[in-house]
Amino acid sequence: MRVGIPRETTQGERRVALVPETVAKLAAAGFELVVEQGAGDSASFPDDAYREAGATLGDPWETDGVVKVRKPSPDERERLRAGQLLIAFLEPLSDRAGVDALASRGVTAFALESVPRITRAQPMDALSSQATVGGYKAALFAAEHLPRFFPMLMTAAGTVPPAKVLVIGAGVAGLQAIATARRLGAVTTGFDVRPVVREQIESLGANWLDLGVTGAEAEGGYARELTDDEMAAQQQALEGRIADFDAVITTAAVPGRPAPKIIPASAVEAMRPGSVIVDLAAETGGNCELTEPGEIVERAGVTLVGLKDIPSTMPYHASTLYSRNVQALLLHLAPEGELTLDWSDEITSGACVAGKQEGAPA
């Protein structure tokens, strides 16, 4: 099976779908790999490394399958053929039209977001691997933009108290942010609507913020959306407590829904000047009312970091992890290098968002 690795065209995207290390493994497993020139450049993987790993440089679209990070642009979509395989973040829940377009072209498309969150599928869980990068980076951004130290320092010029960091939403990204902030010495507190998370937060040595708001856990460990009443209660409780913190990192998300607006403008105003909010949910609109997705802005003396596509700021390892997820999925779909789709398989049928064979279970 020939697999193509195009260069990402989305603005600001620096990742690449497969890195040389994985290419070598796939080549050994019987795949033939075609890399677009310069595909890995922005992630620090030169073309030569791909060549050494066994890939050829060429047109990645003239293949049996294409692996990407981002969903194909309309132009790119035109280059896909019927029966061709496509693996990428396809945003199936928010970009129904794009997925339908793929289906109408006869492409067999697998969305990494749709890989079911079962134990067996963990190596293919690109949401988790990219969220890990996001959480780590979020803590660094907070440290970077805070005009204060994270750690406590007792010096001849007086004692610097440790920064207080609040992490809202303790999923994969949130926990990693907590861990990183704690590593830097901040006094770290976590909050989530799923009550099971409390133990996990404490298992990282962080504190649990009790806002008296709890939601339920849906399948796959995701949170369900809060009701309006619950949301209002949460906003209000948070407003009363948020001024205690120097930096707030928000990662709250509900799959397929715009990010819940957890921090209202009034809460931002309640914060001390110089405080920082890093909003990892910026991509889906932000957890903070004042977040400007894609921008770093100052509002009421508070720095709001609303950068999107944070994994692209660490393209080397983000690509490496992503690449291993893709590799796992490819090997699952084509164990010997030849596509053998078993539609009764939970992962295969769950991840497929377009071109699913007739009779396969929904």
Binding site: I118, T119, R120, Q122, P123, S128, S129, T132, V172, L175, Q176, A179, R182, R183, E199, Q200, E202, S203, L204, G205
Partner: protein, 463 residues
């Protein structure tokens, strides 16, 4: 050899016995302790031989060859797993010997009917009584462990009453003898009642509790020997017997405590009910769970060549990372090879274990990822699973029906011994049973991981 010279030589034997016990309490010297005790025993036998002189020397020799030969062969042949019943057997014959000696002495000194009464000491009668109980009880313990009779507790209504009556009968006749009713049939009743009591006393006790019972009967035998020594005015019998009596009693208490039971509960708990502890840890698939104390695990660790720590989410919950590091350091300082096997999804977030172990300053080279760690388990003495569960669940390998089937796991069951530290038999994240816990190679150390590791550190230090 004069009485005094022999008694002085016996004193050497006594000293060797004290040293033997001392050494036997220390893992590093236990074997030497046993050898010292054996040497002392040889001395005592030689001294006695010389002292007894020519009288019946051939009879003694034949008896010793028969008994010793049987003992040696039986002890050599037995499988390691059958050791406890061997101890029961040898303890029983020792008790029997003590009872026989008392019987012979009493028979010798008891006046013929009508003849003037003599002084009979309580000691010698008690020696017969206790020796007989020990003999009969040990034989039942042996039979149960050897599965000659059913290992389950055997109970019936009124048991306590029957046992009590037998004991009172034995003791009553013994006291009557001493008090002056010097009839030989009283002696026979004493012995018969004691034997019956020994049988019925041990019968109701379940197989799992046998070691405690054997230890108690062992102390009984020691006491019987010491009491016999009084009659024979023989210091070595008094001291050796009493050393065993006292240390055996303490040992019985300690063994019961190690099982979290009282001795009374062990001895009488079986009446009408199956031991609860045993039931609680009986596994779903019929296998049994072995639980150990920190001391046991400490010895395993300290004497291992290679120990692999397998951390999981429980390590994080317990925040035991610093203590684990300390235990690892301690083991390394004792020459044990230590590493950590990290499963890719251990914990609750990617890199969870790394965060913790980095905080505790565990050197990076000691962390092994799964592919690196798995081939090592087969040459690992102890895999110490600290609060991990799903990531060491062999169902992922073997059980097609399991929800985690297909996930690569850490093959800790390739190690010689697996020690699992967790608080209960509760499942982990995946919510499924873990057959590892029922593996005969596995011992569980229940409790919060931080507390358990802290005890391990203390115990390893004290070794």
């Amino acid at each position: 050899m004069s009485y005094n010279v022999s008694n002085l030589l016996y004193l050497i034997t006594i000293v060797t016995f004290v040293l033997a016990l001392r050494f036997l309490s220390n893992p590093a010297h236990a074997r030497r302790g046993n050898q010292i005790g054996a040497a002392g025993m040889v001395l005592a036998i030689v001294v006695t031989w010389v002292k007894v002189g020519s009288t019946s020397w051939w009879a003694i020799a034949i008896a010793m060859v028969i008994g010793g030969g049987f003992g040696a062969v039986a002890a050599r042949r037995v499988r390691m797993t059958a050791m406890p019943q061997m101890v029961a057997l040898f303890n029983g014959v020792g008790g029997g010997a003590a009872a026989l000696i008392a019987l012979a002495e009493l028979h010798r000194i008891l006046p013929d009917p009508g003849a003037p009464k003599i002084d009979i000491s309580l000691g010698i009668v008690l020696s017969a009584l206790i020796g007989a109980i020990s003999f009969a009880g040990s034989m039942i313990a042996f039979a149960k462990l050897q599965e000659l009779i059913g290992g389950r507790p055997i109970t019936y209504a009124g048991q306590q009453f029957v046992n009590g009556a037998l004991f009172v009968a034995a003791l009553g006749c013994a006291i009557a003898l001493v008090a002056g009713v010097q009839e030989e049939w009283l002696l026979w009743i004493t012995i018969a009642a004691s034997l019956a009591f020994g049988v019925l006393f041990v019968l109701p006790i379940g197989g799992a509790d046998m070691p405690v019972v054997i230890s108690l009967l062992n102390a009984f035998t020691g006491l019987a020997v010491a009491l016999g020594g009084f009659e024979l005015q023989n210091n070595v019998l008094i001291v050796a017997g009493m050393l065993v009596g006292a240390s055996g009693t303490l040992l019985t208490l300690m063994m019961a405590r190690a099982m979290n039971r009282s001795v009374a509960n062990v001895l009488f708990g079986a009446f009408g009910q199956v031991s609860e502890t045993a039931a609680a840890v009986a596994g779903g698939d019929g296998g049994a769970v072995r639980s150990a104390t920190a001391e046991d695990v400490a010895v395993m660790l300290a004497y291992a060549h290679k120990v692999v720590f397998v951390p999981g989410y429980g390590l994080a919950v317990a925040q035991a990372q610093h203590d684990v590091r300390q235990l690892a350091d301690l083991l390394e300082s004792k020459g044990v090879e230590v590493s950590y096997a990290i499963h890719p999804v251990a914990g609750r977030m990617p890199g969870h274990m790394n965060v913790l172990l980095a905080e505790a300053n565990v050197p990076y080279p000691q962390l092994k990822e799964m592919d690196e760690a798995n081939p090592e388990f087969s040459r690992t003495d102890v895999a110490l699973v600290v609060g991990a569960n799903d990531v060491v669940n062999p169902d992922a390998r073997n059980n097609q029906g399991s929800p985690i089937y297909g996930m690569p796991i850490l093959n800790v069951d390739d190690a010689q011994t697996v020690v699992v530290l967790k608080r209960s038999m509760n499942p982990g994240f995946a919510g499924i049973e873990n057959p590892l816990f029922y593996n005969p190679k596995t011992v569980m150390l229940f409790g919060d991981a931080k507390a358990s590791i802290t005890s391990l550190v203390a115990d390893v230090k004290n070794l």
